[in-house]
């Protein structure tokens, strides 16, 4: 039984380990359109993106080799950013984009066209991919580069155009493995958003945590960049030392109500108070800055057996009021969220299913067990769409087909590109079935 990170909607598929590209070619060639085939990485998408009920799911994590040549990473699709970072940080390189967890694969990062704290400056993961190899629906291996239809449809294509087997990615040279971070506490949402609008361009990385239970929308803004050698205290042994270690593990079983308004309120209060009113130039580590939750193994279990979802949307700059409205609606619905994150995006990628666009993105983790949530989120979907925004497929576990097509005006173009790559219609996922993503596809 497979689920996404949110542990909702489990379905069964035949899991099949692949060790090289030839295995992938064989598996895709043998696949039939009835239930289809899909590649899966580390299962960090929140909803049903990496599930294919009744079909074949390729476990790509057994194809995890990679090499670095100068500032170019050549990685098999199943290589995790965790493994990559362990190898390249001590050599003075960093991945071009990292999400809030390093436990994602290169293939998944490309297929979901993930973004990170540097989106406003450096764009999404797909913008740093130079070439990739894709096994298409006919079992052919296609090597593609930016500019081609195969590339554009596969970046953000959620694995429905083919199986990515290998990618070449530009890396970022770094002088140290430390981060130089500025932290500011803001008492309300307006002040927080104003600070981001005014100052984000001065930082490579920027993200804000918002207290979802505070009516004012108070938050903590953390921004920074890789520290230079001069930033480190004198006598630092190894400026490129990198040692990410998980510290805690959530218990395998948690009661459904453990994460409630009271515990979330206590957490949010502590998190807000812990942050300094203003602190400049703090030196911290890569894991502490980028991947704080990776310090707790299986943190997704704290939401109990019913699981959780993450509601993430983006709206253009002129619809920034949607951020406050969404926070208000979720608060009124009694949805406790300890992880609510606000970020400004830069311009989007030209891939038709890529999520980011210039504007504001809000992401809130919410327990799935709250019944009022359905209607509240459906109504919010409508507001986001009316404002010209859209929702992130890698987080989605519940939106409607109408919400999808309204948010992605290039969907028809993507479907045409997809059909050309998969004329037999063998690539499928639970999410694609739920949203009619590949609808109109042959046969």
């Amino acid at each position: 039984m497979l689920t996404g990170w949110g542990r909702t909607s489990p379905t069964a598929a035949t899991l099949c380990a692949v060790h090289d590209e030839a295995d992938v070619v064989d598996a895709v060639g043998a696949a039939t359109p009835e239930r289809g085939i899909l590649a899966r990485g580390l299962g960090r998408s929140y909803g049903d993106s990496a599930q294919d009920a009744g079909g074949i799911v390729l476990d790509m994590t057994t194809m995890s080799g990679f090499t670095r040549d100068g500032s170019t990473l050549r990685a098999q699709a199943g290589a995790s950013l965790d493994d990559v970072l362990r190898a390249i940080v001590p050599e003075g390189y960093f991945v071009p984009v990292t999400p809030g967890t390093r436990f994602v694969t290169v293939g998944g990062a490309t297929a979901a066209d993930i973004h990170g704290k540097n989106h406003h400056v450096e764009g999404s993961f797909g913008a740093h991919v130079r070439r990739m190899r894709v096994v298409t629906g006919t079992g052919e291996v296609v090597e593609c580069a930016p500019g081609s239809d195969a590339f554009a449809a596969t970046v953000g294509g959620m694995g429905l155009t083919g199986v990515i087997t290998e990618a070449q990615v530009d890396l970022l040279p770094i002088a140290t493995s430390r981060m130089r971070v500025d932290t500011e506490r803001h008492a309300d949402l307006d002040a927080l958003m104003a600070a981001m609008t005014q100052g984000d361009h001065q930082y490579r990385y920027s993200v804000a945590w918002v207290d979802s239970l505070s009516p004012a929308g108070r938050g903590v803004l953390t921004r920074g960049d890789h520290a230079s050698l001069a930033d480190l205290p004198a006598g630092t042994d190894d400026p490129l030392a990198y040692d990410p270690r998980p510290r805690l593990g959530a218990p395998p079983w948690m009661p459904s109500g453990a994460l409630n308004r009271a515990s979330t309120r206590a957490f949010n209060e502590a998190w807000f108070r812990r942050a300094p009113r203003e602190r400049r130039g703090e030196i911290t580590s890569i894991p502490a800055f980028f991947h704080p939750l990776d310090g707790v193994r299986h943190w997704n279990r704290v939401y109990g057996p019913r699981g959780f979802l993450q509601y993430q949307f983006v709206v253009p700059d002129d619809a920034s009021a949607l951020v406050g409205l969404a926070l208000q609606r979720l608060r009124e619905a009694g949805a406790p969220s300890f992880l609510t994150v606000l970020k400004r995006f830069g311009p989007g990628h030209d891939a038709p299913l890529s999520f980011p666009m210039q504007g504001w993105t809000l992401a809130a983790d919410i327990p799935a067990r709250i019944p009022a949530l359905r209607d509240v989120l459906d109504a919010l979907d409508g507001e986001v769409i009316a404002a010209g925004g859209r929702h992130y497929l890698a987080k989605d576990s519940r939106m409607s087909a109408q919400t999808l097509s309204a948010g992605y005006p290039q969907l028809a173009r993507w479907r045409a590109m997809r059909d050309a790559l998969d004329p037999r219609g063998v690539f499928a996922s639970d999410q694609a079935r739920r949203l009619g993503l590949t609808l109109g596809s042959a046969p």
Binding site: P10, A53, G55
Partner: protein, 252 residues
């Protein structure tokens, strides 16, 4: 697919005229519901239900001839329903109550009732399970009855058919473990419907909407067995523990 907040997209009702099934269709979160197949004996009730569902904006509503006794037809009916698209929830809701006194003096009629309630359910249930297993997801809701927990003098023929159905449904649920599909066994008590009209009410009598609310909540929680109303669980546990001599003397 049923999404993360329990919104289903497609439902197949076996026993399309069933009042409890109708109430469940009204109670299910319906914002994503786009396809309903009502399978049952041709009746104005089923056609009215189909019209009501279309009136609610459900794009694809169809009615299909289905006779629980005609087991030879089941495979083709179930395949046709699933071939047109995945089915998220199957409601096995058909059943005949019968008149116990008349049945006792007419064994052929008793066989007919048992054939519909039990044999028909085994047949169609296995066909449904085969397709759910293939698609790797889906919920089968089986409307059993507290009458199957312990057969009473007053309705033991019906009760025995429900006892068989209940045991079958539980076993089927176990057989489907790990397949992505699962079975919810519902044991209502006395439900005020046209089927029970004119009968004297049993204690803890309920109505179809109340049963439906319990079924929808149980689906959301992923439960495998549920009583309606919930109080019948301890009540039936106590009744099952009664010695024969005492149970036989109970009223009703």
């Amino acid at each position: 697919m049923i999404n993360a907040v329990g919104q289903a997209q497609s439902v197949l009702v076996l026993g399309g005229g069933s009042e409890i099934a109708g109430a469940i269709l009204r109670a299910l979160p319906a914002a994503r519901l786009q396809r309903v197949v009502l399978a049952g004996r041709r009746s104005s009730v089923m056609e009215e239900r189909a019209a009501e569902l279309r009136g609610r904006g459900i794009a694809d509503v169809e009615t299909v001839d289905f006779d629980a006794r005609d087991t030879a037809s089941h495979g083709a009916i179930i395949d046709a329903a699933f071939d047109a698209g995945d089915i998220d929830i199957v409601l096995l809701a058909f059943g005949v109550l019968g008149d116990q006194e008349a049945l006792e003096s007419d064994p052929a009629a008793a066989v007919d009732l048992v054939t519909a309630n039990y044999v028909g359910a085994v047949s169609v249930g296995l066909h449904v399970a085969r397709r759910l297993r293939q698609q790797g997801h889906g919920r089968l809701v089986v409307l059993s009855s507290v009458a199957g927990d312990r057969a009473r003098r007053a309705n033991y023929i019906y009760g025995s058919s429900k006892a068989g159905l209940d045991a079958f449904a539980q076993g089927l649920g176990d057989a489907l473990a790990g397949s992505g599909a699962s079975v919810l066994v519902v044991r209502p008590g006395f439900v005020r419907t046209t089927m029970t009209q004119g009968m004297s009410e049993a204690p803890f009598a309920t109505d179809a909407d109340a049963v439906a609310a319990i079924v929808v909540a149980a689906l959301a929680k992923g439960r495998e067995t549920v009583y309606a109303p919930a109080v019948l669980r301890p009540v039936m546990a106590a009744i099952k523990a009664l010695p024969r001599g005492v149970f036989r003397r109970l009223p009703g």
